[in-house]
Structure formats: structure tokens, C-alpha cells
């Protein structure tokens, strides 16, 4: 059913630290690597070895520049499914292929009943859903459902692929429905926020904003007036080297 189940206590999701993310794309690559043989496999590529390769990715890392001059900064922004509490992608689905799990809040697609009408991708403001043109069905982040509950994996590896691979430890996984969980405490501590709350989708994932920048750099010295004596100018150049 595409009706959203009554909200459970458990809300599994990601917390992404925009302060420490270095934009290396490792999370996106490891996501592709795991999921192309995981729950929603494969993640097809088209013209993979041609001039214009394209493919389905569940996680994409955008790069932005924010602010002006000395206060400007680069922000790397990984974007994936936010596993919303009010996912319109689920309610618009005419077949029931899209669903939200009552037990942990994960939003999934049943590839066996999806008719590929693409309406769910239109209904998602965050671009979480990508159409698999090869299989004719919609695909999306599964929060690595085949890792987080996988008892064949060592316990420390039972986290989404993007979290396990992040070299900057900018990605955290946990239960955002539990106020005492490590991720919830991190969100409270760092002022974590959800994306575009005004749309009413109630995303579960949280982003931690970049920390305020400290300005300790000393201004570069500039000579008061040009040196006219050629010997002194040579001394100046030699010492400035």
C-alpha cells in the first residue's frame, strides 16, 4: 500500500557533516559499488566507455561556493534519499510499488510491481529517485538495507556503504527517532537541519552546517612606496624571495 504507515518509533537515517566533507566522492563511488549488486541491483551505466557516460547513482556529491570575498567558502554537498516521514514519492505511486517501512522508516521500491510511470521522481523535490532505463523501473537509495541487517557481515560493517567508506567521517548512520542515539545527540549539538522543511516532506536525514570560520590570517604587507635605488631594490627582492 502506498498509504504511509503510522509513524514508528524507529527512524533510521543519515547525518551528514558539511563541515568535514571534503567532496572526495568516495561515498558515491562505494554506494554505486555496493548497490550495483545489492537489493536494487543492477545500477546500470550507459555508454560507460564512450565520450558521454551516464548511469543510475543513489548518491551524488555537489560542489558549491557560498558567500563573498574573505567570507566565501566551498561547500561539498552529498545528496541522497532523505527517507522522509511524509514521502510524496510513496503516496503518488499508483501501484503500491513504492512503500515506506513501518518498522524503520526506510523508503523502498518493489521492482517487480513498478510500472515505470516516473511520477514518484516528479514528486521528490530532492532528486532521490533515478529511473533505470534498462529495466524500466524506478530505483533509489535503500539505506543499504542489505548491509545494516546483514548478519553475515561483521557488526562494525552493518552500516550503509557510504558511511563505512567516508575517509573524513563526515557521514553518520543511526536512529534519528531515538533522542538519545549518537546521531540524535550529534544533531542537537551541532544544530543539524533538514532540507527544505517548508515543503512538508519531513526528511529524516540531517545535515550539520559548516562551523563558523575563524579569521586569524595576517594581512599581506605591501611596501609604502616603490624603491627607487636599484641596489636597495635588489636587496629587497633577494630578501623577499
Amino acid at each position: 500500500m502506498t498509504a504511509i504507515p503510522s509513524p514508528g518509533a524507529k527512524k533510521l537515517g543519515l547525518v551528514i557533516d558539511l563541515d568535514t566533507c571534503v567532496g572526495c566522492h568516495a561515498c558515491a563511488v562505494n554506494c554505486k559499488e555496493w548497490n550495483t549488486s545489492g537489493h536494487s541491483a543492477p545500477l546500470p551505466d550507459f555508454d560507460a566507455y564512450q565520450a558521454k557516460p551516464q548511469g543510475v547513482w543513489f548518491n551524488r556529491v555537489h560542489s558549491y561556493e557560498a558567500g563573498e570575498g574573505r567570507d566565501s567558502r566551498t561547500v561539498y554537498f552529498p545528496r541522497s534519499c532523505l527517507h522522509c516521514e511524509e514521502p510524496a514519492c510513496v503516496t503518488v505511486c499508483p501501484t503500491g510499488a513504492s512503500y515506506k517501512r513501518a518498522e524503520d522508516g526506510i523508503v523502498l521500491v518493489n521492482a517487480d510491481t513498478c510500472i515505470g510511470c516516473k511520477l514518484c521522481s516528479w514528486a521528490c523535490p530532492y532528486g532521490a529517485r533515478e529511473f533505470d532505463e534498462d529495466a524500466g523501473v524506478m530505483k533509489k537509495c535503500t539505506l543499504c538495507i542489505d548491509r545494516i541487517y546483514n548478519t553475515n557481515l561483521p557488526e562494525q560493517d552493518r552500516v550503509p556503504a557510504c558511511v563505512s567508506t567516508c575517509p573524513a567521517q563526515a557521514r553518520h548512520f543511526g536512529d534519528l527517532g531515538d533522542p538519545d542515539s549518537a546521531v540524535s545527540r550529534l544533531v542537537a549539538e551541532r544544530g543539524g537541519y533538514g532540507l527544505m522543511p517548508e515543503l512538508g516532506y519531513k526528511p529524516v536525514n540531517r545535515y550539520l552546517p559548516p562551523r563558523a570560520r575563524a579569521h586569524h590570517a595576517t594581512p599581506v604587507e605591501t611596501p609604502a612606496e616603490p624603491i627607487t635605488n636599484s641596489f636597495l631594490r635588489w636587496i629587497d627582492r633577494a630578501l623577499s624571495r
Binding site: 500500500m1 566522492h25 547513482w57 556529491v61 499508483p94 511520477l119 524506478m138 516532506y201
Partner: protein, 301 residues
């Protein structure tokens, strides 16, 4: 939004078809249309043909058309599903109505009831179609109070023109043609008001999408991928402003102005011109719609 031909054909053709069935089911039992069963049959077949062509063309948009039957199951939450259910239910009275008319020789008795039922179901179906678009929050040009009413107006206007076109061959009174002229004017006003409203914004940028407007203006440095992807092909369609302005003029002329002039004289030609104009209008409805996901790609929407 990418203007997919299958969806544009579907909403225009089936909209006109449901409009025809609406007028036929409403006016024939009231004795305001030609009473010959041959007229009822011809108009019904044409209306149902437009609808069926539209519905079949919409399945061309699907990745798995053979699973299309599954789309009738989620009517509790999905407007697309409701549209599917309503369109299928409409077939029942819409097919029985002209058959009973043919058997009884006049659209009265049970046929009268079936006519009214067809008219009501046609309206319900078109409302569902309009709501598919009007319920999508990420697209501000669609999540707009005029979208669903316009779908309904365009349907009864184009369907009225088509039915007046058919009725002419049975020497009907020009009343329906005149009513359609009035509807054309109302539909045109609704479209002009809609364009005026969407042109005003509000416009948001990447800063709103990543939630960091307090850092200052946010500009895109690099997209996540060097080439195109599904999101930008499906949701990132862009139309040059000068082309949009010209196409709006063409749409207004073909969908409304020319039909208003021609309807009292040669309704069949007016109907065909109106349908071509509405195809342009529907194409613009997609091409001018900007999706929130494009904000992440440095656009405004």
C-alpha cells in the same frame, strides 16, 4: 519538465474526449442536441476514440506498460490511480448510453440516467488528471490553484468544440457552438491569469535547496557528474524565454482566438484548430515548469 509527447497527446486527446462525453451526456437527455441515434453513436464513438487513443498513448510513457493494470489499486492516496479507476468506470455508462439511445430511438428513460452519469464521470476523470499535476509540490508552476480548473475548462471547451463540430452535420442549432465560444473566452482568461501568476515567481536558488542561505549567495562550483543524468533530462528541461513568449502567442491564437471566430460558422475546423492550439499550450505547460531538484544543479526554480 521534459515535455513527453505521449503525455501531452494523452491529456489533450482524452481531455477533449471527456469534454465531448460531458456535453453529450448532459445535453442529449435535455433535448438540446440532435435526437437521431446516428448522431449519438457517432459522437460517442469519436469521444471514446479520443479517450482510448489518449489512454493508450499514455502507456507509451511507462517502463512496463504490461503492468499498467496495477495502477488502479492505490486510489486511496494516488491521483494517478484515481484517474485510472475513474477512466475505466466512465467507459461503462459511456458505452451503454449510445447503445440504449440506439435501441430506444431517443436518449430518455434509463439512457437519460446513463447520460448524466457519463457527464459526471467525465468531469471526475478530468479533475483527477488535473490533480496529478496540481498536487506536485516540487513544481511551483503545477502546484498552483489554477492548474486543475484549467484542465477542466480546457476539457469542456475543446470537447464542446468537437461535439459542435459533429452536431453541425446533423443540422443542430448553433447553441452549443455559442456556449463553446463563451467557454473559450473563460478558458483563455484562466490561462492568461495563470501565466501572469507563474511569471511572478517566487524564484528560489541553490542556497534554498541546501539550506545554507545564511552563508550568503550560493553558487554551483561543480555538478556531481560530468555528463547528463536522468534527473536533469526528465526534470531539467529548459525553454528559451523568447521561444516561450512566441509559443504563448501561437497557443492563444490557435487554441482560443481562431476557434472563437470560426465556431459560429464552421465548428469542425474550429475544433481541429483548437486541439492543435491546446497541444502547443500543453507542451508549454511542461516546458515552462521548473522542478525543485534543478536548484541543486545551480538553477533557479
Amino acid at each position: 519538465m521534459h515535455p513527453a509527447l505521449s503525455v501531452i497527446l494523452f491529456t489533450t486527446a482524452s481531455g477533449a474526449g471527456y469534454g465531448m462525453l460531458f456535453w453529450l451526456g448532459l445535453l442529449a437527455p435535455l433535448g438540446l442536441l440532435p435526437m437521431e441515434a446516428s448522431f449519438g453513436l457517432t459522437a460517442s464513438v469519436l469521444g471514446l476514440a479520443l479517450i482510448t487513443f489518449g489512454l493508450l498513448s499514455s502507456t507509451a510513457h511507462l517502463g512496463h506498460p504490461e503492468r499498467a493494470w496495477r495502477a488502479i489499486t492505490q486510489w486511496r492516496t494516488s491521483w494517478l490511480s484515481r484517474e485510472g479507476v475513474a477512466s475505466l468506470i466512465t467507459y461503462i455508462p459511456a458505452v451503454l448510453f449510445p447503445l440504449l439511445w440506439l435501441m430506444d430511438g431517443a436518449p430518455d428513460g434509463v439512457a437519460e440516467l446513463l447520460g448524466f452519469l457519463t457527464a459526471a464521470m467525465a468531469v471526475v476523470t478530468v479533475i483527477c488528471t488535473g490533480m496529478i499535476y496540481a498536487s506536485l509540490k516540487p513544481i511551483r508552476q503545477w502546484y498552483h490553484p489554477l492548474v486543475m480548473p484549467f484542465y477542466l475548462l480546457a476539457s469542456v471547451f475543446s470537447g464542446g468544440a468537437c461535439l459542435a463540430g459533429v452536431a453541425m452535420f446533423w443540422h443542430a442549432s448553433p447553441m452549443l457552438a455559442y456556449a463553446t465560444v463563451v467557454l473559450a473566452a473563460i478558458t483563455l482568461v484562466a490561462k492568461l491569469a495563470y501565466w501572469r501568476s507563474i511569471d511572478r515567481g517566487p524564484v528560489r536558488g541553490p542556497g534554498d535547496a541546501i539550506g545554507l542561505t545564511e552563508l550568503g549567495t550560493v553558487r554551483m562550483l561543480d555538478p556531481p557528474n560530468t555528463e547528463d543524468n536522468y534527473l536533469m533530462r526528465e526534470m531539467g528541461y529548459r525553454i528559451a524565454r523568447k521561444h516561450a513568449a512566441r509559443l504563448r502567442v501561437i497557443a492563444v491564437a490557435l487554441a482560443f482566438v481562431v476557434p472563437i471566430v470560426l465556431l459560429p460558422f464552421i465548428p469542425p475546423v474550429a475544433a481541429v484548430v483548437a486541439l492543435v492550439g491546446l497541444l502547443v499550450e500543453r507542451w508549454l505547460f511542461f516546458a515552462e515548469a521548473t522542478h525543485t531538484v534543478t536548484l541543486y544543479y545551480g538553477r533557479t526554480a
